[in-house]
Symmetry: C2
Subunit: 251 residues, 2 copies
DNA sequence: CGGGCCCTTGAATTCTCTCAAACAATGTGG
DNA sequence: CCACATTGTTTGAGAGAATTCAAGGGCCCG
């Protein structure tokens, strides 16, 4: 990472964590809050396009996204890229690498992103002293697994238009839940290449598929982003029930 | 589940757990062993084709596979099925449902399968008293996530023959590691329909793709199963590095 | 022996990809 | 301010990949 891309700050206190106030997330008890405050060793801000974590590296840190959009991906040797999932506020990233030693995927920022930085070495203490947070970590991993299951079903068995509808509906629902959208139409800051790499389609075919959704007035494509107009329509096309999360843990 | 499909027994003591003796798995300390012995409340045996866990259910149990093969899958309303991953000895299943309340996928047996049955309600105690096992649970979840990431890359970005090669190489490597193969050629007890539902391809195209691999003498198709002859060839085609696990936790 | 399940193959159709070209928006340097 | 490069979107056309449809054969089991 270049200097331009990263800045270290530490202005947000965990006690005032903006995510804590959202219904979406579960609340910490004082003892947990005390630990997390110690666990967090800094804050990281990156510009759009910056790589936050890179496949093959052994990072000493894990992060929670405070604000902004990003995505998790893997590539083949010849450059083919598959986006695995999108990353939004409240998401913990780098846990996989912290446990198994080496990152098996990369993470890149789509917008300006700020992250809380945690020390991997303190994970032991977390498991030793804070059962509720340990449980939450497993929960978070299981949640990611659930989304991946659904993505796999989508790429494997849904048609191009169903896939696109599912993906956009998923992003929209997650974005609303995490406060990335102020309630009205969400503007997702991605290119059609990102969509293509998520759906497992070529960019040309992705473009034609998005056009179909747009012609039904379900979405609108903006300069470098997508606006969802009717989630219900997308859900119907994809025959997906949508997200059903009440309160989720985060760290 | 019908009576024919399930039998409850409890003949394998955790102290004599056959998986413990394998290098693949990490060893328990006496205290952990004591807990796990209490945690395990029974044993379940199911016949091939039986459903072990079903999407939408709220199971009071989670399981570790003691022996046999199975697979995890999801379906769309119209019946399209996507196999997410295969299940082998040492794999923990049902964790996702135990944490988030409801199973989001189903699990079916490919061969006779025996499972250790654990009480979901004792998970709290595990997190409260056994940090090392808590850590292991997260580790296990992260491992599954890693495999899913790779599967997603495969289905999204690899060609049909690369996909098939990757899948068979993965299964072979996992099978050898867990002792399902006695060292020589592994016989995987699946139909081509299973392969198709894993790769996201039609059965016809799957058949033609497998024929290509067979004509290169990399695999051989048997009655209701597949035998891997040259993993190296499969790894090369798929441009995949293969598994690299030294010792993994299990419960 | 018949039925069911699995594997195999060919042919027509549909979907998706690559190639190619053009356009719009943005940013840069002169 | 313009010329130019870059990036992202759009469209058409032909090639390639994968699907569906259809049919036949093998095997096991009741």
């Amino acid at each position: 990472m270049t200097a331009k891309e990263t800045r270290n700050t530490n202005n947000t206190s965990c006690a005032d964590c903006p995510l804590q106030t959202r219904d979406e997330f579960r609340k910490f008890c004082p003892k947990e809050l005390e630990f997390i405050t110690r666990f967090k060793t800094g804050e990281l801000s990156v510009d759009p396009g910056a790589t936050i974590l890179v496949e093959g590296s052994h990072s000493a840190h894990l992060f929670t996204v405070l604000s902004g959009w990003g995505f998790r991906y893997k590539t083949l040797e010849d450059g083919r890229r598959q986006i695995l999932n999108f990353v939004m506020p409240g998401d913990l990233v780098g846990l996989q690498g912290s446990l198994t030693g080496e990152m098996q995927h990369s993470i890149e920022a789509l917008s300006p992103v700020t992250l809380c930085v945690f020390e991997r070495s303190r994970l032991k203490e977390l498991y030793r002293e804070y059962p509720s947070l340990s449980y939450d970590l497993t929960w978070i991993a299981a949640r990611e697994e659930r989304i991946l299951d659904e993505n796999l079903l989508s790429i494997g068995r849904r048609s191009a238009i169903e896939r696109a509808a599912y993906l956009l509906a998923l992003i929209q629902q997650r974005a609303v839940a995490t406060g990335l959208s102020n309630g009205e139409n969400v503007r997702i800051p991605i290119t059609q290449q990102h969509i293509a790499d998520t759906l497992g389609l070529s960019i040309v075919h992705t473009n034609k598929t998005l056009k179909k959704l747009a012609s039904r007035n379900l979405i609108r494509w903006l300069d470098r982003g997508c606006e969802i107009l009717k989630v219900e329509g997308l859900l119907e096309i994809s025959q997906w029930e949508g997200l059903s999360e009440t309160s989720r843990p985060f760290i």
